[in-house]
């Protein structure tokens, strides 16, 4: 008997049934069933590169590592000071020697004893491997580590009286690894790390699907200073698209968003009663760098003239309206920045404010014109300005379009904007190919030196040709000054001195934004620069 019924409609009916069934499934999602009711689900767009402390120095890996590995010292919330974590005490026992005593009875989650030998091993390993993706560069001043007793670690430094070294111990380079698990000379695979449970921090990893979903529970063996978590565990869920992250917090599929939603998404979520948007000043800053060789009248140009070059920088600093940038481009999520250290970090000043523009922080065309005419600069000054959108965010395009408008509205500048991909940007800017360009910085540790040293010390990261012996001497002074009052004064002097030469024009101080469901406690409504997102504080009502 020939079959005459076409199979298409049958298949279509089956598909429809399947789709209907699927659409009707009860929501088994998220936090509700991930574990008990006190587990917090956090969503992020960050990506993890490695769980090995020697193999990663990125935000995504750092988020996990700071929760599963402990450091000798750590920065507690609301303070920029480094406080004991695994350490019981730290003393500067000689000009180049720090002695750390460990808390008694420390253990890793796998039951291994955590002793000074593990600490020595961890630092030696960082320096030996010096992985291309790792944080070993932060240990630039570490000569050697010794473990004279099971509870005592001695750090010998290359240069004396380094008051910043305790801060270095709070960073990714200071995470303590289990010497019975990690090889001394190479990076360990994530799978092998997970299996060996070498956790020294407040949490342990229960299951790990890289850059997909990771579950954590409280580490009962943790003996550090951060205290017991207020939740029973955390599930970390990874997203690529910020739009998916936004929809999932809105639907309640996740409890917390930590890095990073777009500004329109944050604004929209701010109107929803079921979520709370916590914002505040972050420790990231954005600025324009002038290349002192190739900027107008720069030292390598045909019209080289230091006085005219200075006038050009000062005129630009007088014309930029930071408040307009913050409001118009970043919808108030960024704040104007008038120095090289963001507000909230000890020692930050507003050194540029009284020097430029209307001397209250606003722009002033007349002041800029005076600076240029006094120096004999004919206007408009042609300025090539570079920016980047794939590293510093897509809003950079609007930010720099507005800067161009602000500079050109005065009639004093003629700006040519150009955008370059990040992979080329880093190389070309240090090759003096950009007369003026966008850069940004976020802190490795919350200290003014992490900014000033990176911008203006010998062999600095910015590398724009600014080289002031007096400023460099002051930086060396603050790096070894033990008296907090005197150090703050030195930091002020550095910022005041650089502000006069203005080789870098600070623009904005970044914002931090964390979004939580309304039932989540543990994130302050207003975040300051010293705020550190630590999971232990999160609790579900």
């Amino acid at each position: 008997m020939p079959r005459t019924t076409p199979r298409g409609p049958v298949a279509a009916a089956a598909l429809t049934t399947l789709l209907s069934l699927a659409a009707c499934t009860t929501d088994t999602s998220d936090a509700h069933s991930a574990a008990d009711g006190r587990t917090i689900t956090i969503g992020t767009t960050d990506q993890v590169s490695s769980l090995d402390p020697a193999g990663a120095w990125d935000a995504g890996s750092g988020t996990i590592e700071t929760e599963v590995y402990a450091t000798l010292l750590s920065a507690h919330n609301g303070s920029t000071d480094a406080k004991p974590d695994l350490a019981a005490s730290i003393t500067l026992s000689g000009p180049t020697k720090y002695t750390v005593r460990l808390k008694p009875g420390l253990k890793f989650a796998n039951g291994h004893d955590l002793t000074s030998s593990d600490v020595k091993f961890s630092f030696d390993r960082q320096l030996k491997i010096a992985d291309k993706n790792g944080p070993s560069s932060l240990l630039y001043n570490l000569e050697s580590v010794a473990a004279p007793a099971p509870d005592t670690v001695e750090f010998t430094l290359k240069s004396p009286n380094d008051t910043l070294f305790p801060q270095i111990l709070t960073t990714a380079a200071g995470l303590v690894a289990d010497e019975e698990v990690f090889p001394a000379d190479k990076i360990l695979d994530d799978e092998a790390i997970i299996a060996a449970k070498p956790w020294s921090g407040p949490y342990v990893i229960d299951s790990y699907a890289k850059n997909s979903v990771v579950s954590f529970s409280v580490n009962p063996a943790y003996g550090g200073g951060l205290g017991a978590p207020k939740n029973t565990g955390v599930v970390l869920k990874y997203y690529t698209a910020a739009s998916n992250l936004k929809l999932d917090i809105q639907r309640g599929d996740i409890d917390v968003v930590y890095r990073t939603l777009t500004i329109p998404d944050l604004q929209d979520l701010g109107t929803k009663p079921e979520v709370v948007v916590h914002t505040g000043s972050g420790n990231g800053i954005r600025f324009i760098v002038f290349d002192l060789k190739t900027q107008p009248f720069g030292s390598a140009t045909a019209q080289a003239d230091p006085a005219k070059a200075l006038a050009v920088r000062q005129a630009a600093a007088s014309l930029i309206d930071r408040a307009q940038l913050a409001d118009q481009v970043y919808k108030g999520t960024f704040q104007p920045l008038y120095s090289y250290v963001p507000q909230g970090i000890t020692g930050a000043t507003e050194s540029l404010k009284p020097l430029y523009g209307d001397q209250r922080g606003g722009p002033d065309k007349a002041a800029a014109a005076r600076l240029l005419s006094t120096a004999g600069v004919s206007t408009p000054v042609a300025l090539n300005l570079q920016y980047n959108t794939d590293h510093y965010g897509s809003s950079s395009e609007d930010e720099y379009a507005l800067i161009k408008t602000q500079l050109e509205a005065s009639g004093l500048f003629k700006v040519t904007l150009q955008s370059t991909e990040w992979s080329q940007y880093g190389k070309q800017r240090v090759a003096d190919q950009y007369p003026a360009y966008q850069l940004g910085w976020y802190a490795d540790y919350l200290d003014a030196d992490n900014y000033l040293g990176s911008f203006f010390a010998d062999g600095n990261w910015v590398n724009n040709g600014y080289d002031d012996a007096a400023v460099k001497a002051l930086i060396k002074q603050e790096q070894t000054e033990t008296d907090p009052g005197r150090r703050t004064e030195t930091l002020r002097q550095i910022q005041d001195a650089v502000a006069k030469a203005v080789p870098i024009v600070p623009l904005l101080q970044g914002s931090t934004a964390i979004v939580t469901r309304a039932k989540i406690d543990g994130v302050p409504q207003r975040l300051d620069s010293a705020y550190q997102f630590r999971w232990a504080e999160l609790a579900k009502r």
Binding site: G55, K132, D444
Partner: protein, 340 residues
Amino acid sequence: MPGLARYLTVRFLLIFPTVFALVTAVFFLMRLTGDPVTNALGDRLTPEQLRQRLHQAGYDRPLLVQYLEFLKGVATGDLGRTATDNRSIADLLGSYGTATLELAVYALVIALIVGLPLGRLAAYYRDRAPDVVLRLFAILAYATPVFFVGLLLKLVFSVWLDWFPVAGRASTGVQLQLAHRSSVTGIFLLDALRSGDGAAVLDVLHHAVLPSVALGLLVAGIFLRLVRTNLIGTLSAGYVTAARSRGVPERRLRDRHATRPALVPVITLLGLQVAGLLGGAVLTETTFEWKGLGFELAHYLTARDFVAVQALVAVFAVVVAVTNFLVDAVAALVDPRVRY
């Protein structure tokens, strides 16, 4: 050598230059776009520190030396470890290849279920209203970029109607539940079925619907048009007219005599569509947070991880080339019109 064996041997040998040309192009193109260390740490390290790390990683050596080293690795089956997160390529394929395979199979099922019957329907109603509507649908289905279809589906069915989840391969709870099982295949549907938990199976299917439809529609449009054209051709062929004159019922003519020969080219097209599916998977996986090879390729491209990108493209190239070879072989066996 008999004709068929010679034909298959030549087709098989062609795989090697195809893959070689592609990986060579990718090797050099990726290096034009920067390196992973500068990309990741260019905003942290001083120029001197950066130079040291590039030297240590060997990225400052002459390109030719790096290329020969890469070829040696490919020849010995060692594709290296990813530059940004130190993973073995085998591990990468094991973790993410299964997810892409799962999505591609779902999409193919959707394509066949939608494309074949609708193609037949369009042929039966040739040049009448249903045919016009279906042809328009087919053009829209394969001409609309897959990420746009994905976003549209998400907007309508996730955001407005709230019928389907926004993204992901399963709910967090189900994902953790599957991850905790001792042996997992990485194919969520299989893992969920093996767990014996009906809710988990439905949850996995629930999450698969939108990405599968987005990717499947791309191929369905092509199938629809192909089946329609072929069926119109066979329906007017002499042997069908002869059968009709012998009194074979019209429905039998349509469903048996004309349809089966009309479906042969679909086999060839299936092979060609593997490339389309993999290309579409990159965009679909990114739109729906489907953590597969396409998703990882996009991630590694952004990170300028040339080791990972080279390896993934090589794998994609091999899959497409081998599939095309198999399709050629099958076509040669089943279609007497193929000459060799």
